[in-house]
Amino acid sequence: MKKTDICTIEHSKIIVNNEVIFENQTETFSEFAKEAYKNLALNYPKFHKMDNLSKLAFLASEVILKDEDHSRTALVFANKSSSLDTDFKYQESINSQENYFPSPAVFVYTLPNICVGEISIKHQMQTENAFFILDEFDEKFLNDYSEQILQSGKADKVLCGWVELYQESYKAFVYLLTL
């Protein structure tokens, strides 16, 4: 299998194929993501409604997928913390009986596969999707799983990604695989 187009996002930097395409000195992931969005001129207002995990996965995928046709590209993503960053925020909104206002816009992001859904929607990818939770980044597992999708003809390419985020600790490692 061939690995083409690799994007890494961590420590306020976006690196594509070993080249830093964006970086800034912001304090929080949220500010970093907002600046990256503006810098990449993404023009996609729905971005601002996404939770941090989805923003991370979205940014890393955008720089690889661009405006090309990915109608035959599967999505295989994984992380360790699932959607716990948003789960924690959601839980805070229901901890107190006096201040009990569960938010549907937050609740919908309390599932890790939503980030994959966001990418599918933006790029109109009606393709095989999967989200796994692993104890640590296991490139072999992701590649094995992706390889059988490609071998079976279910897709021509696989966008593979480790998108891990919990509060201010985050890392995305996303890449495109073909046979």
Partner: protein, 85 residues
Amino acid sequence: MENLREELKHKIIEVLNLEDVAIEEIKDTDPLFGGGLGLDSIDALELIVLLDKEYGIKLADPKKGKEIFASIDTMAKFIEENRTK
């Protein structure tokens, strides 16, 4: 009463994460849904939470939401009549 309409516009932009929208862009009688704001079904549900959290109004029939949230004007009128906060 102008204040409520202005307040609603601020709150909607904040609660619905309408980052790229300026207050001036939202006219009192413009349709909120099906118009330029790109609001969807989740936004409609969030507005129901907003009514409760900010104005103490519990919507007995969520399906009435469509009429109430038709525009800033209709929202403001509904809130004026029913607010408990």
